[in-house]
Amino acid sequence: MFGLDTFIATAVSASAPIVATAVGGAFAERARCTNIGMEGMMLMGAFTALSVSVISGSAWLGLLAGIAVGALGGVFLSVAVHLLTCDIIIAGIGFNMMVSGVTLLLIDVFHGESGTWAPTRPPLLPRIDLGAYADTPLIGLFLHGQSVLVLVILAVVVLAWIVESRSRFGRHIRAVGDNLEAVVAAGLNPTVLRTTTLAISGATAGLGGSFLAISALGVFAADMSGGLGFIALAAVIFAGASVVRSALVAVLFGLSVAFATQFQSSGLPVQFVLMTPYVATILGLLLVGVRRRSSGNPPIINPTSPIQH
């Protein structure tokens, strides 16, 4: 039986963390700072959000902490790239490895758990209760019963869109990505701009991570981000680094999960359900490549540089 309400609920909750992360990722990508580290920043955000929620007793404080730590992660990556002069891709991979180690270490040290930490009765963010309007078409269907974080994330998308299209900063990051010389000639500091975009990307990844940790279950599991950060990056690449389009593509990836979940009841093995977002991501990128090729933009062979001078 095809339950539209469960389908939509699954789609919304599967999309939300990807959407949040992709929105910030679009900023970084715009500034030519491909943020592979979003995966780790999500994980950091998830862990911090849950920890601070439990310690302070307030899930809202937890959320703020998750976002702040994600932003710090972005700054850290920027330092590695600008001060240590690491290749941004490889530094991002290193960052993910490090975060995955640190979170594992911390849940072991503080909670004596290996891999999964499930605190008893953790504070969670409230759910949206539309009361009498719960059955309103559309709004009720999409929002009722979801975490308020869904609303927060929607607000972030709108805010990011305004910043991107209307603000000075939006113009500056576009300039950094498109013509560095123009930025320098205009007297702006590209390093500061790039660091800011990475911090923003970290903050929204922290938001996405918080969604994983304190919206529904209140559990942290090692590598619970499960590649969502990479998927968000793929969405950003697919959308050509535009905020709204990145969010929409992220929703598409979330929909693929909802579809697969629907098919599970009709016999699709759980493993195939779980691999759906990854397959969808590869297919999405394939589409990008084919489109780029047919539009006559020849692919560039640019080696990744692990160790530089």
Binding site: I162, R166, R168, R174, D178, E181, A185, G187
Partner: protein
């Protein structure tokens, strides 16, 4: 010549005074103590060949370069300009040859980049920005749509955006680096009428150029530079193209070293109706046809950026062609395939020595052997390192490459030795066809002479040589025939034996004569 004359020079005090400017880059001296005065209300042209030091001098004024000696006064006060931002704040605006624009932003956003008109929340007041741009553009006759996206504008319109940006910052001096190089003649006319308006408004305009005709028509004063020195300052009505050309090129070089070759047989390289696109799909080579026969050196002269690079890349298979054909030893080359073209006997001494000529992080041995790597003498399955070393040692001796050891990275060699390395690799197999670009760039006289003598030797043994250079003296000295490229076309052809004078060739290079004999 326009009639405005020198309106504000009555008091004789220039807005900018530069004295004794010296600029060194490493051991290379780009400016040998240059003086320049810029007056309010005049268009001041700085003329000179590529590398004469025009742009370097202006970069000193704009704050991109920091001169090692000399001083600069603006409005009578000595200043130190340390960054473009500072230069701008002192009223110096520069329109670069390569625009510093953000292609994805609108005209108004580009004009106000970095000092946007915004409210307290950092949100940009688009309407106000666009209104101001419209106002500026109306005032100076710079027709533009303030809301248009820059990447969708023509080159001429993009240049107007650059000018508007400078004007929005209320500059006193506007420097334009080769502004007409990218414009159509009509756009050029429009630009000059705009510049006229600016000087009438009290600005000073500095025009860096190598085009004699336009400078004579539009400038109020002309300064000529050659090899880092100021060699003359004239007024257009007291000068002529002939006099300026002599100033630019200098004394005619002794051409007694020229030694002709004897072209024989069928063409080794035959290019017909070749059209190639360059950066961002703009046509760089337009319907070019020529042939190179064994035993001759065909020189391609021209100011840099007139399609020579794209032509060579097409001929060596590194760039796709749009239309036309290339045949090597009579066999047409189909799709671009550098491997096949090399195998058919085409040696390539590239212009971009560091990017294409040598593998900077590989040993000298690998750099020398890679040209003939498929040869069995270097081993069948496994490479025979001993044979490779012996081969490299022989070439190092034969071409007198100075190095500490054969395993040294090529990137550590001096420019001259690096070029010898390229020459050794490319010429040792005695290829029937040699394509040689900018053979003496960055080399001292001794190393350059060596490369010249190698080219002549190979020509004499019967190789067909295509020499591409922006250095007119070396083209004149080596070539049996000279083709001049201008704006992607062959604009003139000279017989080397007739010993054309640099002035004759130079006129075609500078686009003065549409087509010469």
């Amino acid at each position: 010549m326009t009639g405005s004359g020198l309106p504000n020079s009555a008091d004789g005090s220039p807005i900018v005074t530069m004295r004794g400017i010296v600029q060194r880059f490493g051991s290379f001296i780009a400016l040998h103590g240059v003086d320049l005065d810029i007056h309010r209300g005049e268009v001041h042209a700085v003329l000179g060949e590529n590398g004469a030091g025009k742009s370097t001098l202006m970069n000193c004024l704009f704050g991109i370069n920091r001169p090692q000696a000399g001083w600069i006064c603006i409005d009578g006060k000595e200043v130190a300009i340390e960054s473009p931002r500072q230069g701008l704040s002192m009223g110096i605006g520069m329109v670069h040859q390569h625009f510093k624009l953000v292609p994805t932003l609108t005209v108004a956003d580009n004009v106000f980049l970095g000092h946007e008109l915004s409210n307290g929340l950092g949100l940009v007041n688009r309407r106000e920005q666009e209104r101001r741009v419209a106002e500026l553009s109306a005032r100076y006759g710079l027709a533009i749509d303030p809301a248009a996206i820059v990447s969708e504008l023509s080159v001429g319109a993009q240049q107007r955006v650059e000018i508007l940006r400078a004007l929005s910052k209320r500059v006193k001096v506007l420097v334009l680096d080769e502004p007409t190089a990218v414009l159509t003649p009509q756009e050029g006319e429009m630009l000059f009428s705009v510049l006229r308006g600016l000087v009438a408004d009290g600005l000073a305009v500095v025009l860096i150029s190598h085009r004699l005709a336009e400078v004579l028509r539009f400038a109020d004063r002309i300064s000529v530079m050659r090899s880092g020195r100021m060699v003359g300052s004239v007024k257009p009505d007291e000068s002529s193209e002939r006099q300026l050309a002599e100033l630019i090129i200098g004394r005619e070089l002794a051409s007694n070293k020229w030694r002709g070759g004897r072209a024989t047989g069928e063409p080794m390289l035959e290019v017909s109706h070749l059209t190639v696109s360059g950066y961002q799909g703009v046509l760089a080579v337009k319907n070019v046809s020529f042939a190179v026969r064994p035993g001759e050196i065909v020189g391609i002269a021209g100011v840099a950026g007139n399609g020579q690079t794209e032509l060579v890349e097409a001929v060596t298979g590194l760039r796709r062609t749009v239309s036309g054909t290339i045949a090597i030893a009579g066999a047409p080359v189909g799709k671009s395939d550098p491997h096949r073209i090399r195998r058919s006997g085409v040696a390539h001494i590239p212009e971009d020595r560091l990017g294409r000529g040598v593998s900077l992080w590989s040993s000298v041995v690998d750099n020398l052997v890679v040209g003939q790597i498929d040869d069995r003498r270097f081993g069948t399955v496994l490479l025979d390192r001993k044979a490779m070393n012996e081969f490299a040692e022989r070439l190092v001796g034969k071409f007198d490459i100075r190095l500490s050891s054969l395993s040294t990275h090529a990137g550590r060699l001096s420019g001259g030795n690096m070029q010898k390395l390229v020459v050794a690799r490319e010429l040792d197999p005695e290829p029937p066809m040699i394509i040689c670009c900018e053979p003496s760039r960055g080399l001292d006289i001794g190393a350059a002479e060596f490369v010249y003598s190698q080219l002549q030797e190979h020509r004499d043994r019967g190789a067909a040589i295509l020499l591409v250079s922006t250095e007119l003296p070396e083209v004149l000295r080596l070539s049996d025939r000279i083709l001049v490229m201008h704006d992607g076309r062959i604009a003139g052809e000279f017989d080397g034996a007739g010993r054309p004078s640099p002035r004759e060739v130079g006129r075609v290079m500078l686009g003065m004569d549409a087509l010469h004999a």
